[in-house]
């Protein structure tokens, strides 16, 4: 079971989610503000951050950026549907997934499991280390380097890259990526994919404007290469 840091300002939601997750065997630390959450991070060493976007003082997006500055901790945003603007900003700030409130504990736990799940190995008998242009992908050690320099990829970015480069030049629709990389339903919000692709390109491409590795096929989706 996992260690979850929950940052949520509303006491009822905080207590409810904490209670629900604890009942399912997770270890939960709850914080009421972004500052308190960041302070608890080094000491608690969570596996995952459950982050409300609407916080007093330092807001969720700022917390998200601060966390990403030094770690690739999986982050799930808690949002209310309709706060669409916040969802996009939060995803751009580096969140891996989001949950729309109100949500049942089973839904929250399913998201947590999906984010923490390691990708199935793209294909048995593959070499652990693959080289694509300047990129070196280590499927076992889960590291990616570009021209020898290690890249800090968030969990969703890493999973997306591993999924795409497991089948170079194959086109995946955004719906397919939502299902396979995020374990979302086919009909979930495709902006999740777009935001993650944008972040990934910012890290692996020479020029994010004219991508080599993760290419867009208008109307169909994304593919890796051809280089």
């Amino acid at each position: 079971m996992s260690r979850v840091l929950l940052i949520e300002d509303d006491p009822a939601v905080r207590e409810g989610v904490e209670l629900g997750l604890r009942r399912r065997g997770h270890e939960v630390r709850a914080a009421a503000t972004g500052e308190a959450g960041l302070a608890a991070m080094t000491e608690f060493r969570p596996d995952l951050l459950l982050l409300d976007l609407m916080l007093p003082g330092m807001n969720g997006v700022q917390v998200c950026r601060r966390v990403r500055e030094r770690s690739q901790l999986p982050i799930i945003m808690l949002t209310a549907r309709g706060d669409d603007f916040d969802v996009v900003i939060g995803l751009e700030a580096g969140a891996d997934d989001y949950i729309v409130k109100p949500a049942r504990t089973e839904v929250i736990e399913a998201r947590i499991r999906a984010v923490l799940r390691r990708l199935d190995d793209g294909g048995a008998g593959r070499q652990a280390i693959e080289v694509y242009g300047e990129l070196t992908v280590d499927r076992v050690g889960l590291t990616v380097t570009k021209a020898g320099r290690p890249l800090a990829l968030a969990p969703s970015e890493l999973k997306l890259l591993l999924h795409l480069c497991a089948a170079p030049e194959q086109v995946f629709s955004r719906q397919q990526l939502l299902e396979h990389v995020w374990d979302h339903s086919y009909h979930a919000d495709a902006r999740l994919v777009d935001a993650c692709v944008a972040r990934l390109r910012g890290k692996i491409e020479d020029e994010a404007g004219s991508p080599r590795y993760v290419q867009t096929l208008r109307g169909f989706g994304y593919r890796f290469g051809p280089l």
Binding site: D10, A12, V13, R14, E15, G16, V17, L19, G20, R23, A80, R81, G82, D84, K101, P102, A103, R104, T105, E106, I108, S173, R174, Q175, S185, Y186, H187, A188, D189, A190, R191, G219, F220
Partner: protein
């Protein structure tokens, strides 16, 4: 009503033309009348003077001349006549004499062709003489008849039977009169032309405010309610402009108040749902705890706990639907369109809801791609199928086809048919209303009561249409038509 066509034909002219025509008509009538009256008076004066001079002078001549009666024709008489003729005033005249069968004149012909029988009759009736104006072959003549009379007593005159006629050409007078006519015409026509200028100015001064009014009304009609027109002067048109501005102001204010009230109502609904969502988020997270532990509680507490858990779930659905509908009301709903394989999307929808058994059948041809918002299309299909299963009865059939009609973009047609009794005709117009209950006895359905309203909004967001109807053999059918915005799959 019978004047309708004529009036409309008159209205076919613009206001400017009508104003100018009216102006010209008035100017023309007054100039024409003045000219005509002046002409008539002057002409009468000219002719009267000539006539009076001629008649008086002829009478004097005749009276001063002695005629030996009974008269004999011949040189003597013609000599006397020529003598009178010479003294004609104001112009020379030709003198004719008629006495019994004697005919004589001062000219070539003994009998005049100009003298009319009427004048002859008048001459016999009136001993003081008569005259008549005659136009013959385009030449105007004055003809005077003067009977010779005896003075029988101071009161009575006896005709002698001799009648003298004078025939005088009135050419000079006619020339004068013609000159008068020319003068009147030459005065009236330029006057009429000059009248055009004030006519144009007047039309312009009337038409400019009218044009401004028209533009302002158009501007208001297109939604710019703050439109006002400048008020110039203090005439009736300025009054009209002022009235227009006042009405526009009142209209603007009422519309603003209505909009504010509507926005407040919508914001209230949205705020309420927002506020409900936070406590619900806490409650919904712990319903599982309630459900799991209910088994260990005593029967009444267990029932109460399960009731709270179940209703919390329904409340969450209702609040989500309310949020969704208030986003449509606030036009904040976004279409996140993506190109999808429609048959696959529908199959996923049915699969996610566990509707893959015999209850739901599909007729989904492969290869139809369309540009849709997958999440919203999923909601549309799920709502329609869920609705059909709840209110109709299984089996429910979902069918899909693409259609291309002439002069319109290709559309995607999705039909959801059930095998129930169908929708009652009186319910059909209201089926997409919010919280509409087709069955009054059913106080609360499994859904929120907003399902079909949200479905309608989602279809409209795709620029599509949805309609409800009944199949001939019973069973309700919902038909969704959405423009495809996409080509056949390929490449």
């Amino acid at each position: 009503m019978t004047t309708g066509p004529r009036r409309s034909r008159f209205r076919a002219f613009g206001l400017r033309t009508r104003l100018l025509l009216a102006f010209l008509l008035v100017a023309g009538v007054s100039a024409g009348t003045t000219a005509a009256l002046t002409y008539r008076e002057a002409r009468n004066a000219v002719l009267q003077t000539a006539q009076d001079t001629a008649v008086t002078s002829f009478r004097d001549q005749v009276q001063q001349t002695g005629f030996g009666l009974p008269l004999q024709g011949g040189e003597d008489l013609e000599f006397v006549l020529r003598d009178i003729a010479r003294k004609g005033k104001p112009h020379p005249w030709v003198v004719f004499a008629e006495y019994g069968s004697v005919r004589a004149s001062s000219g070539e012909n003994p009998v005049s062709t100009v003298i009319t029988p009427e004048l002859r009759r008048a001459a016999r009736a009136n001993p003081h003489g008569s005259f008549e104006r005659v136009v013959k072959d385009g030449v105007p003549y004055l003809t005077i008849a003067m009977p010779m009379v005896f003075k029988a007593s101071p009161d009575s005159l006896l005709p002698s039977g001799l009648v003298l006629y004078a025939v005088m050409r009135m050419t000079d007078e006619q020339l004068n009169v013609d000159a008068l006519l020319m003068a009147a015409r030459d005065g009236a026509l330029p006057g009429l032309a000059v009248a055009l200028i004030p006519g144009l100015i007047a039309a312009r001064s009337v038409l400019r405010p009218v044009r401004e009014l028209r533009q302002a009304a158009q501007s208001m009609g297109s939604g710019r309610l703050d439109t006002r027109i400048p008020v110039r002067g203090s005439d009736e048109l300025a009054d009209l402009a002022r009235t227009f501005n006042e009405s526009a102001g009142q209209l603007e204010q009422s519309v603003r108040e209505l909009r504010e009230a509507e926005a407040r109502a919508r914001r209230f609904a949205s705020d309420v749902s927002h506020e409900l969502r936070t406590p619900l988020a806490g409650m919904l997270a712990v319903t599982e705890v309630l459900d799991e532990d209910a088994d260990h509680l005593d029967a009444d507490t267990a029932r109460a706990v399960r009731l709270v858990s179940a209703e919390t779930g329904k409340l969450a659905v209702l609040v989500e639907d309310l949020m969704e509908i208030s986003r449509f009301d606030a036009r904040a709903a976004e279409l996140n369109a993506d190109e999808v394989d429609v048959a696959e999307a529908i199959r996923k929808t049915l699969h996610n809801r566990h509707w893959s058994d015999d209850r739901v059948r599909t007729e989904l041809p492969d290869g139809i791609r369309a540009r849709l918002d997958p999440r919203r299309f999923d909601l549309v299909i799920a709502n329609l199928v869920g609705n059909a299963l709840r209110h109709g009865s299984a089996p429910v059939t979902v069918s899909l086809r693409a259609e291309t009609r002439s002069a319109s973009p290709p559309v995607l047609i999705t039909e959801v048919r059930d095998s129930g009794p169908g929708i009652r005709p009186e319910s059909l117009p209201h089926i997409f209303d919010r919280f509409y209950k087709a069955d009054a006895a059913r106080t609360r359905s499994a859904g929120s009561g907003l399902g079909l309203a949200i479905t309608l909004e989602n279809v409209k967001l795709h620029n599509g249409t949805i309609r409800a109807g009944n199949l001939p053999g019973g069973g309700a059918v919902f038909t969704v038509e959405i423009p495809r915005h996409a080509e056949e799959a390929g490449g």
